[in-house]
């Protein structure tokens, strides 16, 4: 009966090794007609080295993981010594013992076999005379090759990743490199299990992300074979994980890759290669793809879901905030417990996409968000532009573009306009229309013609006064107040403007014409 040692002895994961089974399967070893006579359940033990030893006290020379080859010449006729020999190998955690049958033992010795079976030590006999030197040469050279391959792979990956880091490469490049080695999807998550970045073949990555909600919600976090994780952290703080999802190679190599990748990612983050956190970069990439419409929204669903955005049976509110601080916007969302994504679409243009349960009042919550943003940021004039709510994910890109359009339309005159906390398309009136027509050559030439007197000798002060005056509905006291000038000083400026443009601003039609031209001019600049 075989006594089991329990799990196979595992050596350091990075240490190259063959199993006993693999050694016995080698062609040159098969020539010796090996037969396992004890410990058959332990053949997956790893062989770190092959050692030829005839000494009776061989155990003291071993450090564990050795396959010991012997003819047993010093053991013949002494059953107590035979049993002790096996015991000493067991105590030294040898992987297996191989006994060449011949002069000392013509047949497998029962005492040794029973002792080996009791302690679960694989015992193999070779029925044909076999030069041990051939076996050691064969196995040692394979072990050295494996060790060299592991070191070589480790060094190659480390060199490549270090090169990328020192070259200022973004996170994505590092992950692409890791995925090229692992040939499986690579996912980086934060502590909230939110996917921050992925790499690998697109369809395979999408398959992983599609199932992400289930995977990420497993508190224990076991995903079965081929899922290799390495913790990301430093200075006593853990902040995420990198995962090889469904790695098909051997575990030791996968572990090596994951560890090298984790080291590189930690280094990359500590060196602070980007002004944005990984969370920000991840949201930015998703939102930019969504707003641009280059990738169909439907294809972005797995990424959105994996980024922590609830997408099933939701109402979406696409919003754009100009000159908003991404971190501040994110803080306000968290404070209010509103699920959503925040990302900078362009310099000074930040998109906020709320995802609300359908029973909630989306307009009221958007207003709640805008009002809290003003309180928290201290920016009383923070303008939140929102598109109409969308209940279908495919409509979200158009919504983001609408919100951006609204934000652009009021960008130049938000101080002068009496705007609600949340500005919508219906609030931007003529500005919205002009914004849409700004690239039309006829509109451009109209603007230049109308404003020529001010533009030819550019006077930013007069242009600004004119902008405010028209935006306030020709309210002189409000304009003077906003420009911190006295009323007489304002009158002088208005007269100068009228003189240079050759118009009478008290005449509604002329004022309207100049107003439209100025809106077109600003839209072209924006």
């Amino acid at each position: 009966m075989t006594t089991s040692l329990g799990t196979p002895r595992t050596l350091d994961a990075l240490e190259p090794a063959l199993s006993v089974r693999q050694v016995l399967g080698l062609e040159r070893v098969l020539a010796g007609e090996p037969e396992v006579v004890a410990g058959a359940s332990q053949l997956d033990r790893l062989v770190r080295w092959v050692h030829v030893a005839e000494a009776a006290d061989v155990g003291v020379m071993l450090t564990g993981g050795e396959m010991v080859l012997t003819t047993g010449v010093l053991l013949a006729g002494d059953e107590a010594a035979q049993a002790e020999y096996i015991q000493s190998l067991h105590r030294a955690e040898a992987s297996a013992v191989v006994l060449g049958l011949g002069r000392a033992f013509p047949a497998p010795p029962d005492v040794m076999r029973r002792a080996a079976e009791r302690c679960g030590l694989p015992m193999v006999v070779l029925h044909r005379p076999f030069p041990f030197a051939e076996l050691t040469e064969e196995v040692q050279s394979r072990l050295v090759q494996r060790k060299f391959a592991a070191v070589s792979l480790s060094e190659a990956v480390r060199t490549a990743l270090t090169g990328l880091i020192t070259g200022g490469a973004p996170l994505q490049s590092l992950l692409d490199e890791v995925a090229a080695h692992s040939a499986c999807p690579v996912v980086v998550t934060n502590l909230a299990h939110r996917v921050l970045a992925t790499a690998g073949e697109r369809s395979a990555v999408d398959d992983v992300l599609r199932d992400w909600e289930r995977i990420s919600r497993q508190a224990g976090g076991s995903e079965g074979d081929g899922w290799i994780r390495a913790e990301l952290g430093g200075r006593g703080e853990r902040w995420g994980q990198i995962m090889l999802c469904g790695y098909r190679g051997d575990t030791a190599t996968g572990r090596l890759l994951a560890d090298r990748a984790a080291e590189a990612l930690v280094l990359h983050r500590m060196l602070g290669g980007s002004a944005h956190t990984w969370e920000e970069q991840s949201a930015q990439s998703l939102m930019t793809d969504l707003a641009s419409g280059v990738v169909p929204a439907r294809q972005l669903l797995p990424r959105a879901r994996a980024a922590g955005l609830p997408v099933n049976r939701r109402t979406f509110v696409p919003m754009v905030v100009r000159d908003g601080d991404t971190a501040q916007l994110d803080r306000v969302l968290r404070l209010l417990g509103l699920p959503g994504l925040v990302a900078e679409l362009a310099d000074g243009v930040t998109a906020v996409l709320l995802s609300l349960p359908r029973d909630q009042d989306a307009d009221a919550l958007a207003a709640h968000f805008a009002s809290r943003l003003r309180t928290e940021s201290g920016a009383l004039k923070a303008v939140v532009a929102a598109a109409g709510q969308r209940t279908v994910w495919d409509d979200v890109p158009a919504g983001l573009r609408e919100a951006q359009h609204v934000a652009d339309a009021v960008a130049d005159s938000s101080d002068a306009l009496e705007l609600p906390a949340v500005v919508r398309l219906k609030d931007v009136h003529l500005r919205g229309l002009i914004r849409l027509l700004r690239d039309d050559p006829q509109v451009q030439s109209f603007a230049e013609r109308e404003l020529d007197g001010l533009l030819c000798a550019a006077d930013e002060d007069l242009l600004a006064v004119l902008r405010t005056y028209l935006a306030t509905g020709r309210n002189k006291s409000r304009t003077a107040q906003l420009h911190h000038v006295s009323r007489p000083a304002l009158y002088r400026r208005l007269e100068a403007i009228e003189g240079r443009l050759g118009v009478d601003l008290d005449d509604f039609e002329q004022a309207a014409s100049v107003h439209i031209a100025l809106l077109a001019h600003d839209a072209q600049q924006g």
Partner: protein, 280 residues
């Protein structure tokens, strides 16, 4: 009839003074109510710093009577105004020198339902609680609120499975676990113990932890507040480990029955064989 309730948890950082801390929490009630939340639980000792980082009797002043003290009254009015059940983890003074780490439970109509007093009181560096609190002596109450049967198990209590089970036996559907716990000490347990308790006792758990480092010590409170369901699955994302956050989640209480029909832990337990557990 829908069995889904909208529940909320609030994690935040110490503002520097008691009154502004209370106001932050009042605002959280309004924010949660604006989203239709029906129940909200705050963090442990919600209106103070986590003063147990030091042993200073000056902090005894934070204790007040429950339910007759001003804070409970203030939040009773707010609960009534917004129709929301509130769980208020506070510092309770029963009489001078008799102080507890307690949570008061207010129903959606503003009525006071009762309190739970923390049973297990730690005394280790950064958590000198025996200096401040007597061990709880009010048993394992369950509060029959408008949204369901609620239990409370405070901070260090969570390391002891017996209390979780007692709350389950008493009929809890959701157990709130308001906490103040530090990264270096317990981060490896935070997403292990409460999900395990939720699975073992087949109910929902809401775990709340404050955020930030306060002036009184080096404890790095790491937030990551969450709800977990009776299958030990997180409900939505885990909250930030650094920022204040309101967590609002829909919990389907029908899941209790579904899981309990699958696993009959309550039927198969053997209290007759558990005598050694209660031997002194």
């Amino acid at each position: 009839m829908s069995t889904v309730i909208r529940a909320a948890l609030f994690q935040t950082a110490w503002t520097g003074d008691k009154e502004s801390m209370i106001q932050v929490h009042e605002q959280a009630v309004r924010d949660a109510a604006a989203q239709g939340a029906q129940v909200l639980c705050f963090q442990e000792l919600f209106y103070g710093p986590y003063f147990c980082q030091v042993q200073d009797k000056a902090f005894y002043e934070y204790a007040e009577a429950i339910p007759d003290g001003p804070i409970v009254k203030r939040f009773q009015a707010l609960a009534k105004e917004h129709g929301i059940v509130l769980v208020l983890p506070m510092y309770e003074e029963e009489q001078p020198g008799v102080l507890y780490n307690t949570a008061a439970v207010i129903d959606a109509d503003g009525s006071y339902l009762g309190k739970y007093r923390k049973h297990h009181i730690p005394q280790v560096p950064g958590f000198w609680e025996k200096f401040y609190f007597r061990p709880g002596n009010s048993g394992w109450p369950i509060f029959d609120t408008k949204v369901g049967k609620i239990g409370v198990y405070i901070c260090y209590d969570r390391h002891f499975p017996e209390g979780w089970r007692a709350l389950g036996l008493a009929g809890a559907e959701i157990v709130f676990n308001p906490s103040a716990t530090s990264r270096g000490l317990s981060a490896y347990l935070w997403q292990l113990e409460q999900p395990a308790a939720a699975a073992a006792n087949e109910y929902f758990v809401g775990a709340i932890n404050r955020v930030g480092v306060e002036d009184l010590g080096n404890n790095d409170f790491y937030g990551t507040t969450y709800f977990v369901d009776p299958e030990a699955q997180f409900v939505g994302e885990v909250a930030s480990d650094k920022e204040p956050e309101l967590v609002v989640r829909d919990l389907d209480l029908a899941k209790l029955r579904e899981v309990r029909d699958r696993w009959q832990f309550y039927r198969d337990r053997r209290p007759d064989a558990y005598g050694p557990l209660t031997a002194p």
